[in-house]
């Protein structure tokens, strides 16, 4: 089950496997908004988390592929902490501050020590293997150098003795400072922790979209296009609601700009001209979309044609 985490009314997916599943199994795209692990200081390619549009979230939950949850550790606890603060902090505020410096990372330090021992062992193995595979070449190089020197100094001794000396007491001489050990900074929270499922049918601070007229129309249009096999992304860049792709946006250009209108509302002619003009300029067809009370979605395409 995919977990979608709500934070301030925005939906995030934190696991790479979930992102892959959303894209490949469910044909939904979303938007990566975090820093890319491999190159964090650039904007052209971003990484986890994946932010989902409210329509994408609702669709995933309605088809039973995902659960929308809300972390209680963040906002929820602030209230608790604030509420508890007077009693707990009043008695001894300053020693508390001093004390928790050490114990706060104690368990982690323990884990770190164990990991360090393991890593040192592994690094040692690694070094031994490298040395062993290169031992012949190193020894050869050394004896050649020695021979060169002995040619000049006319020394008699020439030694070529099996394993090189580094390998013999590698255990003692091996340097692996603690700073060199590798540490994992996890992206997703390992366990699902303190979470609460969010009811999407009820409008709340966390999910304000339920029952919003605009959201309802957008959702119906979104679902209908998705069912037809299209990929959809946010259309705000083109002044619409969605961009509609015939295949995965990685490999295909968008064909349509979908603009949603309430079913029985007059559309100003200037809006239609604006939309049509924009669509032709970016070589996309504008779809005027709406859904009636029964949920039937209608699409009207705009074509720019001159009378000739």
């Amino acid at each position: 089950m995919i977990l979608i985490h709500l934070l301030e009314g925005k939906a995030f997916v934190w696991k790479a496997d979930d992102v892959q599943m959303i894209r490949e199994q469910h044909g939904l795209v979303g938007n990566l908004v975090g820093a890319l692990v491999r190159k964090p200081r650039q904007n052209s390619r971003l990484g986890l988390p994946l932010q989902l549009m409210p329509e994408e979230v609702r669709l995933l939950v309605e088809i039973g592929a995902a659960v929308l949850v809300r972390g209680l550790s963040g906002e929820g606890k602030i209230h608790k902490e604030v509420a508890l603060e007077p009693e707990s902090a009043e008695s001894s505020p300053s020693p508390n501050d001093v004390n928790d410096e050490q114990p706060e990372t104690e368990a982690y330090d323990k884990y770190l020590n164990e990991s360090y021992k393991e890593q040192r062992k592994l690094a040692l193995e690694d070094k031994r293997r490298t040395l062993e595979s290169l031992a012949d070449r190193i020894a050869e190089g050394r004896s050649r150098r020695k021979r060169q020197r002995s040619d000049q100094e006319d020394a008699t001794e020439s030694s070529f003795q099996g394993p090189i000396k580094e390998l013999q007491n590698l255990e003692e001489t091996f340097q692996f400072p603690k700073e060199a050990m590798m540490v994992h900074l996890p992206t997703a929270h390992p366990s699902c922790g303190d979470t609460e499922e969010v009811d999407m049918c009820q409008a709340s601070v966390h999910w304000p979209y339920a029952g919003q007229k605009e959201h309802e129309v957008r959702y119906k249009v979104f679902k209908s296009l998705w069912q037809k096999g299209y990929f959809l992304t946010s259309g705000s860049k083109f002044g619409g609601d969605f961009l509609v792709y015939p295949g995965d946006p990685m490999r295909f250009h968008a064909h349509f700009i979908a603009i949603c209108f309430p079913y029985k509302e007059e559309i100003p002619l200037s809006d239609i001209v604006t939309a049509g003009r924009l669509g032709t300029n970016v070589k996309k067809t504008v779809l005027l979309c709406s859904a009636d009370e029964g949920g039937e979605v209608t699409f009207t395409s705009l074509q720019w044609s001159g009378l000739q």
Partner: protein, 528 residues
């Protein structure tokens, strides 16, 4: 958590981003094997990138503990290079703001702990960000700008300097909201406190000293310095240093002021000359009661004219009451100084001569007007102007000019096309920041606030945490679902930002776009 094997393996991980080199996007999926293969490759590449976890050398990580009560991250190991542009010192400890901590965690530069456990990026988002602390929307803009390489700090309205303050270089006196100074221990900080307090006091006194200098009557400055300087010159000194201690910071401007009377009289010839002579003779007009009372009685102060046409070589001793206590005045003969004046005729270039020729033909000096020459002071001159204006009006036909509706264009001797256009323009040009005050009353509570100062981080910028200087731009964060800001908001935010351009950052589903409002002046296509 990754196993030790995986952690070590990460050392030899690929460091560059794969180039998306799978050719142009296709128009339509046709179900062909080639298309599917390309898509598969693209996706595989993407999942590989996303599945990578952050693995860093322990030695290159800075440790920080999240303190929710104080809303900051306290560093427990020395900060890294980021300290140049981020972080602050709080009670002698190096600290980070929540947004800084989350960003640095995403960059793999810090480890964050809370309640004995390492925070994942997800937890950091959920604990450090959020409505009560730092809105996610703002963080998305913050991290976007940081990833682009800008230096971003929180906007503090009280830190905005007026251009006047900046001109006076008051930057020192305005201290950032949070103490940015790096001190090693809390004990040291206590010791430093009286020091810094004294420092600010000094700065404050400096601050007050400068404006008071400006507000005092300019005339007195000119006059006293003129006297002092003329005296100095008589004693044969050529240096421009002045004995009066109060003005030691501006010797050059004073010299200009001193030299201006003789130059003036040379250029304007008879007019100013007659004025001067009359003043020195204490003419009846100057003896009349003045509407304003000055500290200086100019009828008693002699302003010597040392021009070539009127060689006045004897300067009487200045009134002792006009001089500072430690300066003694005496009379002087400046004939020796006179021949040092540059009396050679001015040599003009051809262009300058042509210009003069043109001016002689088409321009007339008001000083050549005999009626103006008869005026002995400004009052008389202004009366003359008024008189002339009245007589002009008499000449205008009453049926046009007597009623409330009058022609836009007043008949006059010289009209250029531009001035005519200017006079007949009914609508005045307005600018974005015009009449802010009247708007401010109706929009006291702005619907949005400026969030960030943005500084450029290239070699040219001189950003320092303690002295950030003038920002490159300021950011106001808005959601895509918000309305376009009202004119009132744009005005009040623009006014708040003063001369730093204001940019609106628009966040839609995690994507950030920017826009700004700018004044546009229509070009006027006429020659004067």
């Amino acid at each position: 958590m990754l196993s030790p094997e995986e952690l070590l393996a990460a050392r030899s991980r690929e460091k560059s981003i794969p180039q998306r080199s799978h050719g142009q996007k296709d128009f339509l999926p046709d179900g062909s094997e080639a298309q599917n293969e390309k898509l598969r490759l693209c996706r595989a590449e993407q999942w590989e990138l996303l599945k990578e976890e952050r693995v860093e050398r322990l030695g290159s990580l800075v440790k920080g503990i999240w303190r929710p009560k104080e809303d900051l991250v306290e560093l427990t190991s020395p900060a890294g290079k980021f300290w140049q542009t981020m972080g602050f010192t709080h009670q002698g400890k190096q600290c980070l703001l929540p947004e800084e901590a989350v960003y640095l965690l995403e960059c793999g530069a810090v480890q964050l702990f809370y309640h004995d456990s390492l925070l994942s990026v997800q937890e950091a988002y959920e604990r450090l960000l959020g409505d009560q602390r730092f809105p996610v929307l703002h963080y998305q803009v913050y991290s976007h700008l940081k990833r682009l390489g800008y230096i971003v700090t929180r906007f503090d309205p009280s830190s905005v300097q007026s251009p006047y303050q900046r001109q006076l270089n008051l930057e020192n006196s305005i201290r950032p909201h949070r103490k940015r100074k790096r001190s090693t221990s809390p004990g040291l900080e206590n010791k430093m406190k009286p020091d810094t307090a004294r420092g600010t006091e000094e700065e404050e006194t400096q601050v007050t000293a400068v404006p008071s200098d400006h507000s005092s009557a300019d005339k007195s400055v000119v006059c006293s310095s003129a006297l002092a300087a003329s005296e100095q010159d008589t004693s044969g000194l050529t240096s421009s240093q002045l004995p009066s201690g109060a003005h030691h910071d501006k010797p050059e401007t004073q010299q200009v002021l001193v030299l201006s009377p003789p130059q003036d009289s040379q250029a304007n010839g008879a007019c100013s000359d007659s004025r001067n002579s009359k003043a020195s003779e204490a003419s009846p007009s100057s003896a009349k009661p003045e509407p304003r009372t000055f500290r200086w009685d100019f009828s008693k102060i002699c302003l010597p004219n040392c021009g070539s046409d009127r060689p006045c070589v004897h300067l009487p001793a200045p009134e002792p009451s006009l001089l500072p206590g430690n300066v003694a005045g005496r009379e002087a003969d400046i004939s020796g100084w006179m021949h040092k004046l540059n009396m050679r005729p001015e040599r003009l270039s051809r262009r300058e001569r042509e210009q003069l020729e043109w001016e002689r033909k088409y321009k007339s000096s008001i000083n050549s007007d005999p009626k103006v020459q008869k005026c002995s002071n400004w009052k008389e001159y202004k009366e003359l102007q008024l008189e002339r204006g009245r007589s002009h009006k008499h000449r205008r036909p009453a049926h046009l000019w007597a009623s409330t509706v009058t022609p836009l264009l007043k008949p006059g001797p010289s009209h250029t096309t531009a001035s005519v256009l200017d006079q007949i323009s009914v609508m005045e040009r307005s600018f974005l920041l015009d009449d802010y005050e009247s708007w401010a009353q109706s929009y006291r509570k702005a619907e949005s606030q400026i969030s960030f100062n943005v500084y450029q981080a290239d070699g040219a910028s001189e950003f320092k945490k303690s002295r950030p200087g003038k920002p490159y731009t300021r950011m106001c964060v808005r959601s895509f679902s918000d309305q376009v800001p009202s004119l009132g908001t744009v005005k009040s935010l623009g006014y708040q930002s003063k001369d730093v351009p204001l940019i609106f950052a628009l966040v839609d589903n995690g994507e950030v776009a920017f826009y700004s409002f700018k004044d546009f002046e229509l070009p006027v296509d006429v020659y004067p």
